[in-house]
Amino acid sequence: MRNFGYVRAATVPDAQESVGGQPDARFLAGGTTMVDLMKCGVETPSTLVDITRLPGLDGIEVGPDGVRLGSLARMSDVANDPRIGREFPVLSESLWRGASEQLRNMATIGGNLMQRTRCSYFREPASFPACNKRDPGSGCSALEGINRGHAVLGTSPSCIATYPGDFAVALVAFDATVVVQNGGRRAFTADDFFLLPGDTPHIEHPIGPADLILAVEVPVSAALRRSHYLKVRDRESYEFAAASAAVGLEMEDDGTTVRDVRIALGGIATTPWRARAVEAALIGRTLDEATVRAACAQVTEGAVDHGMNSFKIALAPRVAARALLTVGGIV
């Protein structure tokens, strides 16, 4: 990787001034995305501003109305927190099913949201100069390339790269907000935090390099308490999703009618994919296998395959259904 300047920030204003005050300066948290992509030559910051010693941003707060996760909380600390694992299973599962414990000990909640695609063309600039996400207007090497892992939803003629993260899928399913220090404080819904590629695949989030994520807040709901993350992939562990689903369920007092259901898909789209049509098709209905499978068929409405990833169109509805049947106690 190229050399760069390294500074350690002591306060949030320091950190933001350091990044804002220099061209191509970037925050450095766990480094599991930044250092990796610097080695690939994809990220070439002039200066890294190390924010890992900023105080007060690593809290894990569980209250009656919500969970607040500091942006510098490590993935492993959140995943292993007994309150999170016991009360909000999908949050723990969507964390520990990602990466490895070594990576989870390094990676932060804020950095995890910002992780970038695993598209092999994106990751290899020396061999594949055509990548609209890296170099707008240069083309897309994946469209006619090996695209088995690429997205079938949310794509555009400019980019078909899959968003690879798990935790964000749970955040999108459960209407989390991302709190950002940006001049003042702003809160984005998780949905709004991930941008479709459209004509601008190089713009993945509605924030700039000097905007610091402070926390992620997840509102408590009955569905969050009865939740699950299913991750289907080539290997049993240490692998990105072929298709995944974050689900939650709340039943009426009769125990068979759905009062609330949440579902978002991962591994198949350019962003975490909330399946509101599936939710609408299940609320007020009896929870049984036939109803669930019929509703989940809508998961891939509008999906487009690019030569090697059509299996995701068949797989995603089944993953969605199995996750719902699991959390519903039917499977």
Binding site: Y6, L28, D36, T52, S100, E101, Y238
Partner: protein, 171 residues
Amino acid sequence: MATPANVTTDVRTTTVRLTVNGDELPLEIEPRVTLLDALREYGHLYGAKKGCDQGQCGACTVHVDGRRVLACLTLAAQVEGQEVTTIEGLAADGEMHPVQDAFVRHDAFQCGYCTPGQIMSAVACIAEGHATTDADVREYMSGNLCRCGAYSNIRAAVRDVAAGTGQGTTS
């Protein structure tokens, strides 16, 4: 044409005082030096291995403040003031850590390249309480690849030591 990613005319260095296996390792290095390269090239501690250099194999696993991490994706500058432990620092000279001993008894390595990373990962895995069952060990050791395929014996070694600490049994 843009400058290739590995060519630089920027030779700025920074002072980094590492603490490795209890010893001070003062360095004046470019910020781009990873902890893995600092340990091997500057600290002459060759136990941590460079398998993939991009966080996908686990051969570079070391401990920072007792937690297992990947040295290849850690900048040396980031861990100033923290305690770094490598395979060389696991036990006193001439002695074997119980996990090292278990790896020998269970034939848990062939070529030995992944082994320091496996052992550092295993020590932490057991301390975390993630070695109670085979399923747990499979999941929580999954970040350490072994091309020789010594996995079943690695699992047995880890379960053996874990059982000795009261976690699960050896069967």
